[in-house]
């Protein structure tokens, strides 16, 4: 069960959304799904729930800088995320964001170890290869994927792929991290294990995390409260245990 408070520090960990709007799939002419104000700060876990099609994943992708909001201002750690040249994200700020996609988005042609090393190499080119490999092996161990270094994603079960995707996201030490339905499609036993592992990893991690889930049992494992996206707005709700 989630602990009563997961707040740790409010310094440099903040998501501020001022009346941001977004269309389904960020399509230019679609109806707007929501108009949202957010002011979340501190190392904590925010759980986002809501009916299918209401725009949970769309909100997550908008907050995470995958899609630009149609309207409104979005600040991450006090800086405008979309202040890059033209319609580009602020690159240095983007480095502080981690995203774990619903479909895992693993590199199918790369081994488990390389799936962890490749994005790390891009983000931290100054790190030595020796240290990178040691970090990656350590992460594989933390997510209970020891001895899978040389396996390809298709050789892993759904739960193992999910653990690899979580490890890849957290190995990049993001300050703000988004998880899109990390237990979708998993059986209840695996799903419970993944949520427990994720909760423990996030407690250790000095990050502000936002997790979308459809499963109230998993939500309870991650946080005592959740945010419901309904009728275009977010409302906070206490999760009954």
């Amino acid at each position: 069960m989630a602990q009563e408070s997961t707040e740790k520090s409010t310094e440099n960990l903040r998501i501020q959304a001022d009346s941001i709007t977004q269309t389904a799939g960020s399509l230019p002419h679609g109806p707007e799904l929501f108009k949202i104000d957010i002011n979340w700060s501190g190392a904590s876990v925010k759980v986002l729930m809501g009916e299918s099609g209401v725009g949970k994943s769309t909100l997550l992708k908008t907050l995470g800088g995958v899609w630009k909001p149609r309207r409104g201002n979005l600040k991450i750690n006090g800086q405008d995320l979309w202040s890059g040249v033209g319609f580009r994200q602020n690159k240095s700020l983007l480095r502080e964001i981690g995203f774990c996609f619903q479909n895992n988005a693993l590199f199918n042609s790369m081994t488990c170890l390389e799936n962890l090393c490749f994005p790390h190499r891009k983000r931290f080119p100054e790190t030595s290869e020796e240290l990178r490999i040691s970090l990656a092996k350590n992460w594989l161990e933390r997510v209970e994927l020891k001895n899978t270094d040389n396996l390809l994603p298709h050789e892993l079960s759904g739960g193992m792929q999910k653990r690899l995707a979580i490890a890849r996201t957290l190995m990049l030490k993001p300050k703000i991290v988004f998880f899109d339905d990390p237990t979708a499609g998993l059986d209840p036993i695996t799903s419970r294990q993944i949520a427990k592992m994720l909760h423990e990893l996030l407690l250790e991690s000095p990050a502000l995390s936002v997790v979308v889930t459809n499963d109230e049992d998993r939500a309870k494992q991650l946080s005592p409260t959740c945010y419901i996206l309904e009728n275009s707005y977010l409302t906070e709700k206490v999760l009954k245990s």
Binding site: P31, D187, I189
Partner: protein, 243 residues
């Protein structure tokens, strides 16, 4: 009636089905539960010839289909509608074109009526404006799942096979889809076989359930019997309900 007898299937060195024995009655709403990789979807795919067993036999009604050729499976596939785990919609076709894929031979008016019924049944009718002209990537994953379910219902198959029909859906939509599965079976006498991870809805919907482990049935019974079961795998599945 659907019957699996001593069904075995391996992928390389991985044994998925290890002598599966299972009988599903006509008109029954039957749920198959189990951990990922335990052979639930694999068993379902054998029924429509998407996979061939290494050994063992499969019957649908009085027909033994285990060794059918690809061509012999055509009428079986008309009899059995399969709702895939992923929506499996054709992204380059609009929603109307996706829906009519299995009923192209019908007159336009009949197609229209059937589609109206199916969309209402899956609760999509009022959810999305200009539904027909839009394309799958423009709607959410949950909406795509409902659209795929509507497409399977349209040709009116006798047996409905659902491979995790509510994965990725919110609890309210899951309840709605499960009630729909039950309703279709009761009202139209269709046999429904549902592979699922959703214990709450499975227990509320099923006539009977089977729990699979390592490619074999380890528990079988009515929702009441499953709830009272002492089989470790079943108990582990029920943990959330008892928390």
């Amino acid at each position: 009636m659907i019957r699996f007898q001593e069904l075995r299937k391996s992928f390389g060195s991985k044994n998925i089905l290890n002598g599966l024995d299972l009988e599903i009655n006509t008109g029954e709403v039957f749920f198959i539960l189990g951990r990922s990789g335990t052979g639930k979807s694999v068993a379902l795919k054998h029924l429509v010839g998407l996979l061939k067993a290494d050994s063992g036999k499969i019957w649908i009604d009085d027909e033994e289909i285990s060794n059918y050729s690809e061509q012999a499976f055509y009428p079986i596939r008309r009899k059995c509608g399969l709702v895939f785990q992923l929506p499996a919609l054709v992204d380059s076709r609009n929603h109307y074109e996706n829906l009519v894929l299995g009923i192209r031979h019908l007159p336009i008016e009949e197609k229209k009526n059937k589609i109206e019924w199916a969309l209402e049944a899956v609760g999509l009718e009022k959810l999305i404006p200009n539904l027909f002209d839009r394309f799958p990537p423009s709607i959410s994953y949950g909406e795509q799942k409902r659209l795929a379910l509507a497409r399977t219902l349209l040709p009116n198959p006798e047996i409905l096979l659902y491979d995790e029909p509510t994965t990725g859906l919110d609890p309210k939509s899951s309840v709605h889809i499960h009630k729909l599965i039950r309703g279709i079976s009761l009202n139209e006498g269709k046999t429904s076989v549902v592979v699922s991870h959703d214990m709450r809805n499975a227990l509320a919907t099923a006539d009977r359930l089977a729990v699979l482990d390592a490619g074999q049935v380890v528990d079988l019974g009515t929702p009441e019997q499953i709830l009272a079961s002492k089989v470790p795998m079943t108990a582990a599945f029920l943990e959330d309900l008892k928390a």
